[in-house]
């Protein structure tokens, strides 16, 4: 139970980081710094992957 709670807390933190990445992507596109934009997109995708693993560790899964 405690493990699930900490996994969800970490997933929440990573979700906030993912939002920051979205802001960086918008900034990069707006100011023509496209390598920054695509780098932020890469980090965003890696964060999503980590969030999916953490959800699984917390027992949240679509499979029954």
């Amino acid at each position: 139970m405690r493990g699930a709670a900490s996994a969800l807390a970490l997933a929440g933190f990573l979700a906030v980081l993912a939002l920051v990445c979205v802001a960086v992507m918008v900034y990069g596109e707006w100011f023509d710094r496209r390598l920054l934009s695509s780098g932020a997109l890469g980090v965003l995708l890696v964060l999503y992957a980590a969030i999916v693993v953490l959800f699984r560790k917390a027992g949240i899964t679509a499979e029954e």
Binding site: L35, S38, G39, L41, G42, L45, A49, V52
Partner: protein, 391 residues
């Protein structure tokens, strides 16, 4: 000695699985999806390659300039180029992991030699497509790679000069060279999908795509690499120049590193020898059935009167050797009286493993020369062996 080495590598591979599963859920273990990951990166290569192809000009004068235009002036062009470049490396890493894992866990023997051989041909075509990608940029590195390849091909007895002419599209580098390189890049890449069909044709449940976690992670990693370490060209190729050094990509260009210490022809011979060894791996140190004390069992046979058409054997056969067909008549047993389907064994695919017999609860399959009790013991031995090796 060689057998002990392979046994040690098998044990290490299985221990690695156990170690990874302490960190990740079992169905997220990336080592289970090395083939699927290779497919993911191949798909990325095809998509990014099509985008790059739209801007590429296959001529001695235009190739370098078109790649530079894509990199500097096309929005996100540098990112697509980087993704194409790093996906090629990731693809090679995935297929090498796939190759070594299947080699070390003995998944190439007996009926799986078809997968092994098709995998080796896939490796050759992948290497050819990857290597020619470096030539298309037509910078100094492309020039020296072309020169070394021509030297290596010319040293082949009897057909060497002809091979070199086929490679560059004439007696020397000319306007036909870059279109030839483009064909040698795209042609083998397209052939990979036909070879994949051969690779899968005898597998019942191939894992051809990784879980979403690894798709996201793989794509994310490619975007990060393409942004942090953008792919760039060297100086443009100069007609008649012979540049000395070049940046090495170990995944595709390692034979050219060997050419620093030996004649290019010998480096080519070494590559061919390694590939030839790879092709015969399934047939080395293979014990004959007689050596293992096994007798010929005969292919599985469907006992028509007992088959209920339940499809359990069809789903369990790992060799795709059982098909379900509409039943021409009801079965004789009570359970089979209302069947709609009937199992049929494809003799040429059956490897006499007995798995279908273990799958069938109606005693509707048998190996004609083996008792049911022997089959059950054999399946249990097979199930216990990997667990014993992992502990």
């Amino acid at each position: 000695m060689y057998r002990r080495l392979l046994t040690g590598l098998q044990s290490a591979t299985l221990r690695l699985d156990v170690g990874i599963q302490r960190v990740l859920p079992q169905d997220f273990n990336p080592l289970y999806y090395t083939g699927g990951l290779a497919n993911l990166f191949l798909t990325v290569l095809v998509v990014s390659g099509i985008l790059i192809f739209l801007y590429y000009e296959p001529s001695l004068e235009g190739a370098y300039a078109s790649v530079e235009f894509l990199t500097r002036d096309v929005p996100y062009g540098v990112v697509f180029r980087g993704i194409h470049r790093y996906a090629a490396d990731a693809y090679m890493v995935a297929i090498l992991l796939h190759l070594f894992r299947n080699w070390f866990t003995d998944r190439y023997r007996e009926a799986r030699d078809s997968q092994w051989l098709s995998g080796m041909v896939l490796l050759v075509f992948s290497g050819l497509a990857g290597f020619t990608g470096y030539l298309l940029v037509w910078d100094e590195r492309s020039q020296i790679l072309t020169s070394l390849t021509v030297q290596a091909l010319r040293s082949v007895p009897l057909v060497g000069n002809w091979l070199a002419e086929v490679f560059v599209g004439g007696p020397g580098v000319s306007d036909t060279t870059l279109p030839r390189f483009l064909f040698l890049h795209v042609g083998p890449a397209m052939a990979l999908y036909v070879l994949l069909w051969w690779h899968y044709v005898r597998l019942r449940h191939p894992k051809i795509w990784p879980p979403a976690v690894w798709v996201l992670f793989g794509l994310g990693l490619l975007f990060i690499l393409a942004s942090v370490l953008p792919a760039t060209s060297g100086r443009p190729a100069q007609p008649g120049a012979s540049p000395e050094g070049f940046a090495v990509d170990w995944f595709y260009l390692w034979p050219y590193v060997l050419a620093r210490w030996m004649a290019p022809g010998w480096a080519l011979a070494l590559v061919v020898a390694l590939l030839a060894y790879g092709m015969v791996i399934p047939y080395t140190l293979r014990e004959t059935p007689e050596e293992r004390g096994l007798r010929a069992l005969g292919q599985a046979v469907v006992v028509d009167e007992n088959c209920t058409g339940c499809e359990l054997c069809y789903y369990d056969c790992p060799y795709n050797a059982i098909y379900m067909v509409p039943s021409p008549a009801p079965g004789k047993s009570r359970a089979a009286a209302n069947r709609k389907l009937l199992a049929v064994v494809v003799d040429s695919r059956c490897v006499e493993c007995g798995i279908c017999i273990g799958a069938c609860p109606f005693e509707a399959l048998e190996l004609p020369r083996m008792l049911d009790r022997d089959v059950q013991q054999r399946i249990q031995r097979g199930a216990q062996a990997p667990a014993a090796a992992a502990t």
